[in-house]
């Protein structure tokens, strides 16, 4: 054992605290990010053992090259019709986000979160899943619902907490839930959906079902213990689950280094748990599709879980409550080396001769119109703050299946209080 005297000449220890490369006022320069050419990464057989593919957790699966051509072994070879549908879902999601963001600014709701720049992550993955595979999303995967042609009016009703809101105004805007849409109820508590998705997948396997589960979390939230609990259960029980980490570089004001991203990749966490791990260009819809399809095939053939890191960028603020100019360089989004997912898919279709700028402009116009029509319809059902849209009693319903005595009493108290308040209002 070293004695105090022996140590005396040692230099003092220093606490290391990571720093992002750019702050407000800095010029963003991403030239150090390793972007391998599209098509270069190998594609193992879906039956391969997880131990044979640690390199994929450190690489970057890319399909679309700079000319918009799809290249290499991961090219999912989708037909133009599917590609156009995917492009449309992505454009529609962006238009939806724009409209709802504006609605929040106009005071029609309390809060909103955009997924701008990350549309491929949710949408291309959903295209590669079956309609009844259960999704356990975080709050930035509205694209799943849109890719499943879920009603925009229904989504907006939730955002407005109005009388047609299927969640009866109980949830924060954007925290959708629809069992019919195989979309698990979103929680505000980060990463809690991760072990739940594993549990759902374990149940599906235990019951001899054919459905699999998929879940999403931000890279920031992947620091939560729940993430690691999910990994260990997924590995131990070979659960048929796809675990997506959306590495959009920022968790509110904290860069990915605070989640461990400076030391290794997020996909590489899979290696330690004995899970297949893929790192994917998250702005390349075809790469996201291909990786999800690969992982889904593994899950469906009892080859166990896959952890997919989607390398992408959060092009807008964290939420309507956030001002990203306070903590990051203004030109990061523009300088992001992987481009914009919608533009890249569009260019691919154009390169195939299956699309052109005029049709794109026309489609964008249609999406804006579709969103506008839906918003008008949803607003007819009410917007937040303009009167109470849910009967007061609903507050006490569904805490339990049957209402216990104390809630019945409290409900009566509330009704009495409301009457007393109305009497005051009348005599004023």
């Amino acid at each position: 054992m070293a004695s105090d005297t022996e140590r005396r000449n040692l230099p003092p220890l220093e606490l290391y605290v990571p720093e992002p490369k750019f702050r407000p006022g800095d010029e963003a320069d991403f030239s150090d990010i390793q972007v391998p050419p599209a098509g270069e990464t190998r594609r193992p057989d879906t039956a391969a053992d997880h131990g044979e593919m640690p390199d994929l957790a450190y690489g970057l699966v890319r399909v679309l090259d700079d000319e918009g051509k799809a290249v290499g072994p991961w090219d999912p070879k989708l037909d133009p019709e599917t590609l156009r549908k995917m492009l449309r879902a992505m454009a529609l999601t962006r238009a939806y986000d724009q409209r709802m963001f504006r609605a929040q600014r106009q005071g029609k709701t309390s809060f909103y979160m955009k997924c701008t720049g990350e549309e491929a992550v949710a949408i291309a993955a959903t295209f590669a899943l079956d309609r009844d595979d259960m999704c356990f999303p975080s709050y930035r995967q509205q694209g799943i619902l849109i890719a499943r042609d879920w009603s925009l009016v229904d989504m907006m009703n939730q955002v407005y907490s109005n009388k047609k809101d299927r969640l009866m105004g109980r949830q924060l805007p954007i925290m959708y839930s629809t069992k019919q849409g195989s979309f698990f109820s979103i929680s505000g508590n980060l990463a809690t959906q991760y072990p739940q998705a594993v549990g759902w997948a374990m149940a599906s396997a235990a019951k001899g079902d054919t459905r699999i589960a998929a879940t999403w979390t931000g890279e920031g939230s992947s620091a939560e213990g729940d993430f690691h609990s999910a990994c260990i259960f997924a590995a131990v029980y070979q659960a048929p689950v796809i675990m997506n980490v959306v590495n959009n570089q920022w968790a509110i004001s904290s860069f990915s280094g605070f989640a461990g991203g400076d030391e290794t990749t997020f996909a590489a966490r899979a290696v330690g748990y004995g899970i297949a791990g893929l790192r994917v260009d998250g702005n390349d819809a075809l790469a996201v599709y291909a990786a999800t399809q690969w992982a889904a095939e593994r899950a469906r053939t009892n080859k166990g879980p896959t952890l997919i890191e989607h390398f992408t960028y959060r092009a807008e603020g964290h939420s309507t409550s956030d001002d990203p100019s306070q903590y990051r360089s203004a030109d990061e989004a523009a300088e992001w080396p992987l481009g914009d997912p919608i533009a890249r898919l569009k260019n691919h279709l154009i390169a195939l001769g299956e699309w052109d700028e005029d049709r794109q402009a026309e489609m964008d116009g249609e999406c804006a119109e579709q969103v506008k029509t839906a918003a008008k319809q949803a607003e007819k059902n009410g917007i937040l703050g303009h009167g109470l849209h849910q009967p007061l009693e609903t507050m006490f319903e569904q805490v339990f299946e049957e209402m216990p005595w104390h809630l019945k009493e409290q409900m009566q108290d509330m009704l009495d209080e409301n009457e007393a308040a109305n009497n005051v209002a009348k005599t004023r």
Binding site: V17, G188, N189, L190, A223, A251, T394, M395, V399, L407
Partner: protein, 349 residues
């Protein structure tokens, strides 16, 4: 720049909390602050703004999003001899760190026979009234008062917030410091459509620039009266004061300031004088801190009571986003409770 310790500045609660950490960090370089978005950005509510610039990033830093880690690391730093002040972004997110607080921080002194201690402070915004939905609105304070070895403190004014937070940071035991976020920027009378009145227009908002402490465990009698004792804390202090003034009732209003340790003498003294008691909190009713208060008052002042103790609380449901103002205990709920407690035995008011 040296601080004029006698000077005061008009501060809202956020600024007062910021000033408390600033003063504590300046006086003692063992004090460090950390949490999600706390360092460079200064916290999503800006409570730690400027501290990293001033004290450097080893004393004010961002952390991974991992509440268990945040609290666990605070225990380790405190055991080393530092004075960590950790922020949990919203009280609703303290649960993943609960084991570190409940099983570790709270018992370290006891189980090591005093050899190791955990003088840490956990700051966290709590309460509703900001359309935060069910995951940004809860009031979990009673959970902490149920744990042996943790102190639970809740300010209601900028002046108190600063004095209590400095006391918490300097306290030798773990303290959970709940910040009522509805009144971060100013007082609030319980009507959802009342514009926030800035603290700068409020007489209580002169906050000393320098160091001062408000001892933990000392309640504040905000208003003397003889008809009924109102026990409250946090945002509810303001709602209670507004309701009492509106009703024109001769109520004694006690701001508890610290739930544990609790200033039982001030409470007992008041009940013996008024003979009636209403407890007010925003948290759900069942097993809420109001139950503890009611039991204490009943055990110690039963023969002085002239009416059953009344509880004004939130309901036993999660906070519903769009019905949050029906959930929130406002002036009408207070009025009804006061009317009930003022009924005499014959049922006459």
């Amino acid at each position: 720049m040296s601080r004029d310790d006698n000077a005061t500045t008009q501060r809202n609660m956020i600024q007062a909390i910021n000033s408390a950490m600033d003063v504590a960090m300046e006086r003692d370089d063992n004090v460090c602050v950390f949490g999600e978005d706390v360092g460079y950005y200064g916290g999503v509510f800006r409570a730690t703004a400027g501290l990293q610039e001033k004290y450097g990033k080893t004393r004010s830093f961002d952390t991974p999003i991992n509440e268990c880690g945040i609290i666990g690391v605070a225990v380790g730093m405190a055991a080393y001899g530092m004075r960590p002040v950790a922020e949990i972004q919203f009280a609703d997110y303290i649960y993943p760190g609960l084991d570190q607080l409940v099983s570790e921080a709270a018992r370290l002194r006891y189980r090591s026979a005093g050899e190791f201690t955990a003088p840490l402070t956990i700051r966290t915004p709590f309460g509703g009234g900001i359309f935060g939905g069910q995951t940004h609105s809860q009031s979990p304070e009673s959970i902490f008062t149920h744990i042996c070895g943790v102190k639970t403190v809740i300010p209601s004014t900028p002046y108190d917030a600063k004095g209590l937070l400095i006391a918490a940071i300097e306290d030798p035991d773990p303290v959970v410091f709940f910040e009522p976020k509805r009144i971060y920027n100013g007082p609030f009378d319980g009507h959802y459509d009342t514009p926030v009145e800035p603290w700068s227009k409020h007489p209580a908002s002169d906050v000393p620039d320098g160091h001062y402490v408000i001892p933990l465990g000392k309640a504040n009698v905000l208003r003397e009266g003889s008809a009924v004792t109102m026990l409250c804390y946090g945002t509810m202090v303001h709602v209670t004061m507004a309701a009492v003034e509106q009703l024109g009732i001769d109520a004694e209003v006690i701001d508890l300031r610290s739930l544990l340790p609790l200033d039982i003498e001030t409470i007992e003294e008041s009940i013996r004088k008024t003979g009636r008691c209403v407890v007010v909190h925003e948290a759900t009713r069942t097993s809420g801190f109001g139950a503890e208060l009611a039991a204490l008052v009943q055990e110690r002042c039963f023969y002085h009571l002239e009416a059953p103790i009344q509880r004004v609380t939130g309901y036993d449901t999660p906070y519903p986003h769009s019905l949050e103002w029906a959930y929130f205990p406002g002036p009408v709920r207070l009025r009804l409770a006061i009317e009930r407690v003022m009924e005499d035995v014959s049922g006459e008011v």
